[in-house]
Symmetry: C2
Subunit: 604 residues, 2 copies
């Protein structure tokens, strides 16, 4: 019972051994992550079109929920850039950003996303994430990074410029450029420069100044918080709010109140597809981060339980005024590097954010949107990896096509459409690739019991028996191809009386392929040819025995191809076996003229 409970509440396991040392390490990591999470939370909430404070709310209870239900010891959950982008792209066309309906719909989206994740856990549907192949995810990330950057430029310029895709955004930016607010631009560019240098150079400078690696690393991570505080100071000192610099404004103090988001059946149906997409993408990202970190300490994460952890986190976000959340890469790495030992670090981070919400929100009144936008841009540009397209192209053109389609779809049509295009194309290409398996006509290697491809080896072919090897499982993507190919081969071998299908590479015959085999058997029969099978694997044979096929097809199932030929055309087989090894033609050249029955009849 206890074990069973520990399976659903992984926290019970580590909590038993929790001690002072672990608590100290977790506390330090939590402090660093809190400082990093404050600007991120505010920024990603803004990116989602929501009041900045919702980002802070989404960084309290969801972290506690993941601490209770998650299996990764170092994953740091919270708002994430791509989920915020998806949220904005789903809700943008439906409601005015900033309206009460928009905010309520974001909560509903988080709720649905939490329920979808939990449903996937219960129904063991985690494999659905496989639909999102690596090229699609990679293309989506790169294009999202570009789209997010374009979307944030308006905050750097201090203008209004909205759009659902890259072209619309570029157009809006070009039209708005003359209205650029110079103080905002100054703050934005200064922040970008500061954050960029903090990310790329600060560590080195601090090290040359004599800091230890640890101290330098920690100080580097506080860059965004320092930028935030500095900008607040500057805006306050120079009264830039009056000069047209848009600031966050009043943030309600106090913890979020718990309440269920308003449930609307029609809106629920409308948001459900987006919620599924958000769940899948959040899950894929989170699991890959968690797995990478867990492996470093030879720990394990349990993907199905991760669904529960993330589902719980999203439900908590929905109940406490947040937005969809998932495990973030940068935060989690910082958490790991700072020495977090258990998920308790997440709960302690939640305490840090709660204290911030309780006491420090007045600080953010004068925080410029431009600084938050700069935070987003510097963080997101690390996601953009255009080189991946070239590398993938070199490796596999089909995968590169799926990646390019996803990128173009996201940039030119929109986020959701782009992913659907990518997933659809991956499936199509996959089906195309598996729909034409390698099928070879084989013959007997002289002097041996082996059968090889007649196009690659000088082999003996029986005039009466057509031997065909299939190098792939037989299932619906290739069932019809098999029919076509065998019809073609039979029409090329008018003298054949038997056809032996050699199945050493067949791991599965599904119902479609079984129907095809039956059709092939019937058609061959009508043409006066008997179908046989050879080298059928055990599990495939077990399944065939459960159908009527073996009783009706009229042929035999041979243990080996040699046995089949020995039974169906003993004369040719015995003669081929008798040819001594030395007489064999060198057999490695492709398309070498095959040693036909007639050929070696002429031999001495």
């Amino acid at each position: 019972m206890k074990e069973r409970l520990a399976c659903y509440l992984p926290c019970l396991e580590w909590a038993r051994q929790y001690d002072r040392e672990a608590a100290g390490k977790d506390g330090l990591a939590a402090a660093i992550v809190t400082l990093m999470l404050i600007p991120q939370s505010l920024a990603y909430a803004m990116l989602a079109g929501l009041p900045p404070v919702t980002g802070l709310y989404a960084s309290i209870l969801p972290l506690v929920a993941y601490t209770l239900f998650g299996t990764s010891r170092t994953l740091a959950v919270g708002p994430a850039a791509v989920l915020s982008l998806l949220t904005a792209s789903v809700l943008g066309p439906l409601f005015a950003a900033g309206s009460a309906e928009y905010n309520a719909a974001a909560l509903l989206l988080a709720l649905l996303s939490g329920l979808v994740l939990l449903a996937m856990a219960v129904l063991r549907l985690g494999f659905l994430a496989n639909f999102l192949s690596h090229p699609v995810i990679s293309g989506f990330m790169s294009a999202s990074g570009i789209l997010i950057t374009l979307g944030q430029l308006k905050h750097i310029l201090g203008i209004r410029a909205d759009g659902e895709n890259a072209l619309q955004l570029l157009g809006a930016l070009a039209r708005g450029l003359p209205q650029t607010n110079l103080p905002t631009l100054a703050i934005g560019v200064a922040s970008l420069l500061f954050l960029y240098l903090a990310r790329t150079r600060l560590n080195g400078w601090l090290r040359t100044l004599g800091c230890t690696a640890r101290v330098a690393g920690t100080l580097t991570r506080t860059g965004p918080v320092v930028a935030l505080l500095l900008s607040v100071l500057v805006v306050w000192l120079f009264e830039l709010g009056a000069a047209g610099v848009r600031v966050v404004g009043r943030i309600p103090e106090g913890l979020p109140s718990l309440s269920l988001p308003p449930l609307d059946a029609a809106l629920t149906m409308q948001l459900l597809p987006a919620a599924i997409l958000i769940s899948l993408i959040g899950f894929v990202e989170s699991v890959s981060v968690a797995q990478t970190l867990a492996a470093k300490r030879r720990q394990r994460i349990e993907p199905n339980q991760e669904l529960v952890g993330l589902g719980g986190a999203n439900l908590a976000a929905a109940l406490s005024g947040g937005l969809p959340v998932t495990g973030g890469l940068s935060r989690s790495v910082v958490n790991f590097d700072a020495g977090a030992q258990t998920p308790m670090a997440g709960a302690l981070t939640a305490v840090g954010i709660a204290i911030t919400v309780l006491f420090f929100t007045p600080l953010f009144h004068n925080l410029p949107h431009a600084v938050l936008a700069a935070t987003i841009i510097v963080a997101i540009l690390t996601l953009v990896d255009l080189g991946a397209l070239e590398r993938t192209w070199r490796y596999s053109r089909q995968d590169a096509a799926a990646m390019a389609a996803t990128m173009l779809g996201v940039l030119l049509i929109g986020v959701e459409a782009g992913i659907l295009v990518g997933v659809g194309l991956s499936l199509l290409l996959f089906l195309w690739r598996t729909s034409q398996p390698h099928i070879a006509v084989v013959g007997q290697l002289p002097g041996s019991e082996h059968f090889r491809n007649v196009k690659r080896f000088a082999v003996v072919e029986s005039p009466k028996v057509l031997s065909i090897r299939v190098d792939e499982s037989l299932y619906f993507p290739n069932a019809r191809y098999l029919e076509d190919r065998i019809a073609e081969l039979v029409s090329e071998h008018p003298q054949a009386e038997h056809l032996v299908l050699m199945c050493p590479g067949v791991n599965l015959i599904d119902a479609s392929a079984l129907e095809s085999l039956e059709a092939i058997g019937v058609r061959l029969h009508a043409a006066g040819i008997q179908l046989h099978l050879s080298e059928v694997k055990g599990p495939v044979m077990d399944r065939l025995k459960r159908s009527d096929f073996l009783a009706h097809f009229g042929g035999r199932v041979f243990l080996s191809q040699f046995e089949a030929l020995a039974a169906l055309d003993p004369q040719t087989t015995r003669r081929a076996l008798g040819i001594r090894g030395q007489e064999r033609a060198s057999g490695s050249l492709p398309h070498q003229s095959t040693l036909q029955e007639n050929d070696h009849e002429k031999r001495p």
Copy 2:
């Protein structure tokens, strides 16, 4: 050039050798098929919600087009039950049946379907038909048969009863039952009985009366035409039209005029998905019929050219006032049995139908709808094969689930939704099935260089080297599973220093799996384990060489697993090789306690 042309115009090939004998045989077959096609054409047009004469129009030019472009020598093209059902289910919700808009939309549907088929031919997209697995097609056919039968019962009863799914139809029939028109019911039931007996018993009776098999077969096939003529006579004699028996009414005489259907961009976009579905289903059905018949004479059909043939036939239907067409099973079998030698039989059938349209349409004025409905029902019920569900269940539960979902979807929601549900579920189940390939930890069989599953054989495992065999290609459906599984296995083997992935069953590593392998390599490295590969197939290796993987992963690629172990843990490997065969424990029991390194250290 001439060969090239013959490739696109297969008629050039057979036309060269066309002689009097072939013409005679084709003419006879055409006469029989014409008699069969007349009632079918009228009935399937009515099923599609169109004026009966459109069915005749669809049996003239389309047949000529297929004669020119098709590759099957015996396929009989024309209106078909399932395509008519699809047409009605697509157009029914949009326009009132019988309206000019409805008829124009049906022409547009045929035009789009022709264009889709031609586009598939040019882009070589015939493999798309693979999406329709056998269980989905079979479930669709059975459910369609039931749905069509329910939909035709109103004609037998002489009432009005419409609906988009089985429940709606049943409800409408129940409500309409009190209004049953008795003369109509009498004609309907008599026709059903007559047609049923003609189909099942007539042949036997004629044979006992001394007819040859050939004559009996031909006479049997004229059953529907006889029923048609008899019913016209009865209606005329007893003036049943006035008694409420609905009849076909005036049919315009003369050949159809050629014209392009009205093109409407919005309607085109609306009908395109249905046109794609109609094209795919028509293509799948037609090709399977054509292939079955071609095989009987060891002829071949060329699936890609079939797309051209069917595409041309549908374009011709659209231009000459018809409806979507495809190759029909029953007609084609009759054509084949009657001795058709070349596609010229189709052109001659077209002449027969043209003569009918020119001179005999007044005959059909008094033809009752009930007789056409009976023709449809008796023909369609042969499609219903509920036993297939049970057979498939016995063979594969996943395939049976896809079939059942398609059937329920078609019956309870509608035709298109049902197919989409079935295709979606097939893909999901397929992905689920391939997402968890067989992955085994292997060890060395004592006294040999072979490596087998530790769960099935008593083998020697190296404490330093973890050997893992994957029995499937590595691609996106299972890439993440591989990551999970290896993380799990590594956490179970804390002492491992090397991990060798044995790849004899890997036919492909796609970009997703490559990313996964890289991630696995990096994670293993972080955990102090080095990844290696062994027994990588040539084509897979060629592709890996085009990526950075081999340069970065830090491990080696061994030709065999034995070579890998000999290099990484020579001590254990040599010791295992030294164990004589006789000392081996019997190795066929699964889960037998494995012969660990420690175990045989204790041996003498």
